[in-house]
């Protein structure tokens, strides 16, 4: 039963991911991403991490995907279906395969802990851990978000800009 659920979740996750990297359409890619993220959220649920699943769905499934779609629309990159893969994709494929094999093999070869069984955290414990033990990273993370916000505003704000396309004077040598 658990295994079946896991397989379903895995198929969603992996399938969505494959969709993201394989589709020719950017909008589709965003939607595939959503699919994959939801699959991941399912995996969190299987791991009894309901809170994380929730966060995943809210932040990723909601916010991130929407941001992505905005980006896609603003850059009208959906009009460029030819934007697919670059010339080095075979190399990329091999590299990715090798790397995930290495990572996988590392897990595979690490002896499993016999006592390992899924446990569910208590929400309140989690919360108190987050705000006591991890308070400092939490505060810093808030600053990170702030910086990202300010930066995004500064950079993306519409201006009547004159682009100085000072193409590198390097020359084609």
């Amino acid at each position: 039963m658990q295994l079946a659920l896991f397989i379903i979740v895995a198929i969603f996750t992996i399938g969505g991911a494959l969709g993201v990297v394989a589709t020719r359409n950017v909008v589709h890619a965003a939607l595939f991403l959503l699919l994959s993220l939801l699959g991941a959220a399912g995996a969190y649920l299987l791991l009894f991490a309901e809170f994380l699943a929730l966060v995943q769905v809210l932040i990723y499934g909601g916010a991130v995907t929407i941001v992505v779609l905005f980006a896609v629309m603003l850059t009208r990159s959906s009009e460029y279906p030819r934007i697919t893969d670059n010339r080095q994709w075979p190399l990329g494929l091999i590299t990715a395969l090798v790397l995930s094999s290495v990572l996988g093999a590392a897990f595979w070869l690490t002896p499993a802990d016999a006592d390992a069984e899924r446990k569910a955290p208590v929400f309140t414990d989690l919360a108190s851990s987050l705000f006591t033990k991890w308070a400092l990273p939490f505060e810093i993370a808030s600053l990170v978000l702030l910086v990202a916000l300010i930066g995004a505003i500064i950079i993306a704000r519409q201006q009547n800009v004159v682009v100085t396309d000072d193409t590198s004077p390097e020359g084609e040598d």
Binding site: G92, T95, V98, L99, V102
Partner: protein
Amino acid sequence: MPLAFLIPVFSFAACPLIILFQRWLPLRGAPLAILAIAGGFVVWILATVGFLAASADHPACDVSPITHALTCHFTTTWFDAGVPSEIITDSIHLNWGMLIDPLTIVLLGLITFVALGVQLYSLEYMKGDPRFGWYYAWQALFVAAMLTLALADNFLLLYIAWELVGLCSYLLIGFWFENPGPREAAKKAFVVTRIGDVGLLVGILLLWVNVGSFSMTEAFAAAASGQLSDGVITASAILLLLGAMGKSAQFPFHVWLPDAMEGPTPVSALIHAATMVIAGVYLVARAYPIFAASPEALMVVASIGLVTALGAATIALVSTDLKRILAYSTVSHLGLMMLSLGALGWTAAVFHLMAHGFAKALLFLGAGSVMHGVGAHGDVDIRRVGGLRRAMPLTAAAFSIGALSLGGIPILSGFWSKDEILLAVSHNLPVIFIVLTMLTVFLSALYMARAMFVVFFGTQGEDSHHAHESPILMTGVLSILAVLAIGFGWIAFNWPGAFDGFGTFVFYDHAEGFHFNVVLGVLSILLAVGAFALAWLVYVRRTLSIQSWRARFAPVLRVVENRYYVDETYQWVIDRVVLTVSAALAFFDRAVVNDVGINGPADVVRKAGIALRLHVTGHVYTYALVVALGVIALAIFWWLRSV
């Protein structure tokens, strides 16, 4: 006698004084040089008197166990090089030292006397030259160096003086450096003798390596005692001989001497006839204990001497330039001296050295007088002058005495010395040597007669119409030298009561009194007189024509007239070999060592940089790919290393 060191010091001091203050000194400082050498002459007399009076109980003197002559030794420390450490014990301790023995004494006499004469003579001869002061400066330096050479008690000091006389020779040959002739001749003289000097220096160092000292006496003692192996002795003797050959213009290093006649004639007289060129002979004579220990070396000395003597005599016979005739004559006579040394005729060689020195100085100064008289400053072609005896009687007389003396006419000094040589050769060398020596003697008389007759007797030459006798200063010097050319030989005799003969004073190993071989003597008299007679017939009376002879031996003549093509060979070697090698090496240095060896690696590095930079393609996915590859490499490496 210890004051003998003053003999060169006067002149050494004169040189820089003249250079620095010539502008303010009377006669540009010439009197300073003359005074210096005159002082040297006086000191020499005093030293000689002292030496003659000294005996083995003089604190500085001893009878040398090798030469068995009284030898006096005065030294003072010059410098030390290297301090012996525990492992390597040798270092060198150098002295300024004088070694005074009969050889030194007579040589000093020759040098001081001729130099004094020549410098006096030059007052007139060089008058009006724009570099009159410099001339005397170099003269002084030369004399000083030459005297040092004669006095030196160790090889290093000898080498130093040896090089300095070479330098002065260079400066004085090239004195009129505006003209290409003197300039090139000077360079040639320096370079050729320098090649010989390589041998000399190597020889000196070889001796040092085996003896452990530069001291001559120690080296001689080692050679005589058999402390040195035969190989070392022969090698060092040959190497010293190389130096001697360069300086004394022995074949094949003789080429510079005729060219050196480009210098002022008094210079030729002093340096290239009487003094510097005999340094080589002197060296062999001085280092005779080493040569004597090696029969092979002596044979080489004799052979070189003979080849030189004969070859130069033939060339002298066909030369047309007065000074060149004299120059080849010098070469030839130097060869005879070498031959004599090689034939164990040590005393004969020294004796001939002296006799030749006076006579040849006389001849050169006479030639200078001729040039002065006819107003020539370069070459004097004997075919263009003639019958000068009327215009220049004193010069003619003096020159003739010199020529007769060197030609070997009896009772003149040249006869006696030459006779001694013949004696030695006939005693100690194979018969072919004496035959060829006789031939040389004949040729020698013949070319001397030719020069004398053509220039002073016979018909008036085209260049000699305005000839006039030289000033009294010059002729005076000539006269004194002429007296010596006549009479010097007489000191060879045993004068009962006064003097036991040259051979009892200047000798190697054992004193020998005067002796005379009738057969040889008569033979040489016949040859000499015959030669003069022949020349008289050919050049004065013109009753004999040599044209048919010239025609018959035209090819031989051409070879001889071209001086056996030795100069050409040298020229070819220098142009084709040395300069080509040098240019090739310079190109190699630039193109291979530098452009490939040095620039190459730099270029490789730079090109590597240029090639490597292409890895930053500008595409962000490449960057990502490389990062990923790095991840894989790192992960796998780390993992494998950790297992």
